[in-house]
Amino acid sequence: MNKHLRWGWIVLSAAFFASYWSLDTLSALAAGKSPEAAVRGTVAQAAGTATVSGKVTLAGSAPAPQKIQMAADPVCLQQHKEPVFAQGLVVNGGAIQHALVYVKEGLQGSFPAPVQPVVLNQTGCMYEPHVFGIQAGQPLEIRNSDATLHNINCQAKSNKKFNIAQPTKGMKSTKMFDQPEMAIPFKCNVHPWMASYGSVFSHPFFAVTDAQGAYSLKGLPAGTYTIEVWQEKLGTQNQSVTVADGETKDLSFTLKGN
C-alpha cells in the first residue's frame, strides 16, 4: 500500500468521526445559542419619577388548593407543622398573589443590569420566591437552605438550560441570563412539586403581587406604556397607561378564572 493510500485512510476515518462530532456540537450550540449581548439601546436611561401601582384580582371563585405531599421526604415534612399547598393559583379574599406585572412596551434606552443578585431560595422544600423577575445580565443566586438534596432544573428556551445538584445545606450557585424570556420554569426533580417561574427582562420595571394582590412599578420615566400581568394558570392581560414625571397612576387587573 503506497503512502498516499495509507494517509488517505487515516484522513478519511478522521473526517468521518469529526463530522459526527461537529454535527452534534453545532446542533448543541444552535440549541443553546451562544451568548449575545442583551438588547441595549445606545443611551442609558436616566431614572424616572413616575409610579404605576394597583391590584390584581380574580373574577369568580378560586379553585380548591392542592395539598403538597411533603411526606415524600422526611426532611421536608419536619419543617412544616401545617399542610402546605401548591402555589399555582394563590388567592386571598379575591386578591391574586404571585402574579407578575411588568412593562411590556413603551420604554426607550438601556437599563444597566444591577450587580445585586436576585436570590432564589430552596427552603422548606419550596422555591422562594415562587415567581420572580430578573434583568438580563443580573446574577441569580440559587441557595439551598435545606439539609437535603435539591437540584435546580432550569428549562429555559432562549437562554441556556442547566440542571445542577446542590446536595448540602448552604450551597450556592450563581447563574446569569442574557436573553429576555418569559416564565422560565425552575424545577427540582427530587421534590416534584417544587416550582418557580423566573422572567428575564431588559429593564427593571417588573413586580410580583403580594398577599394582598398589590404591586408597584416605581421610577418610571414619563411616557405611555403597555403594562402586562402574567399569572401561571390564567395567562396574560394588558392595559395601556400614560404617566408624567412625578405622577402616580393606579392600574388594576381582573383576571377571569377557568
Partner: protein
C-alpha cells in the same frame, strides 16, 4: 449479620440459597488458598531436589472437571426452582391487591387502584415516595418508568426490578412482618440517583386500610 433482616416471604429462601452457595464457595476458596500457600512453601527450590517431570493426570483432571460441574448443576436446579417461584407470572400467588409504581427522575409515584380495584378511576389513591403494604397478603407491584431506567429495590424484601420506560414489568411480594424499610433506586438514573429514596411501611390490614383513606384525603 451480613444480610439485612428478612421481611418478605421469599427472603428466607433467597438467604438459604445464598448461604448454600457461600459455604460451597468458601470450601473451594480455602482449598485453593491453602493449597497455594502449602505448595509454595513445601516445594520451594532446594538444592539436590529437582521438580517432577509430570505433564498431567487424566483421572485427576476428569475428577476436578466433573465434580464442580455436578455441584454447579445442583446450584442451577435449586436456583431455578426459586426463580420460577419469584418470577413466573403463572406461579405468583393470586392477589387482588395491585400497586403501580411509576418511577421518574427522582421520585417514586405510588398508586393504588382503590376500592373498585381498577386503575385510572376516581377512587385511585396516589402517594409520593410512600409505599404501604399489608402484612401477610401477596401484592403485585407493577413497575413502570416515565423517563429513564430506574430500579425498584427493597433490600429487606430481597426483591429488585428494573423500571424500564416503554416496558411495564411486575414483581410480587408478600410482607411477613411490620416495619419500615427504604426503597433504593438501583439503576443509575442521573444526578439524583443516589437520593431516589422511597419509604415502605408494612402494617396490619386494618392500619393499611386506614392509611389508604388518609392518603386519599391528603392527595
Amino acid at each position: 449479620m451480613l444480610l439485612p433482616e428478612s421481611a418478605s416471604s421469599i427472603a428466607p429462601k433467597v438467604d438459604l440459597l445464598f448461604w448454600v452457595i457461600f459455604w460451597i464457595t468458601a470450601f473451594f476458596f480455602f482449598i485453593v488458598q491453602a493449597g497455594l500457600i502449602f505448595f509454595v512453601l513445601k516445594y520451594r527450590a532446594k538444592k539436590g531436589r529437582a521438580a517432577s517431570y509430570i505433564h498431567g493426570n487424566t483421572l485427576l483432571e476428569i475428577v476436578w472437571t466433573v465434580i464442580p460441574a455436578l455441584i454447579l448443576l445442583g446450584l442451577t436446579i435449586s436456583s431455578q426452582r426459586l426463580w420460577v417461584e419469584i418470577r413466573s407470572p403463572h406461579r405468583a400467588p393470586a392477589t387482588s391487591l395491585n400497586v403501580e409504581i411509576l418511577a421518574e427522575q427522582f421520585a417514586w409515584n405510588v398508586r393504588y387502584a382503590g376500592p373498585d380495584g381498577v386503575f385510572d378511576t376516581q377512587d385511585d389513591v396516589s402517594a409520593l415516595n410512600q409505599l404501604h403494604l399489608p402484612v401477610g397478603i401477596p401484592v403485585t407491584l407493577r413497575i413502570r418508568s416515565k423517563d429513564v431506567i430506574h430500579s425498584f429495590f427493597v433490600p429487606e424484601f430481597r426483591i429488585k426490578q428494573d423500571a424500564v420506560p416503554g416496558l411495564p414489568t411486575q414483581v410480587w411480594v408478600e410482607a411477613t412482618r411490620r416495619g419500615e424499610y427504604e426503597i433504593r433506586c438501583a439503576e443509575l438514573c442521573g444526578l439524583g440517583h443516589y437520593r431516589m429514596k422511597g419509604f415502605v411501611t408494612t402494617q396490619s390490614m386494618g392500619d393499611f386500610q386506614n392509611w389508604l383513606v388518609e392518603a386519599k384525603a391528603n392527595e
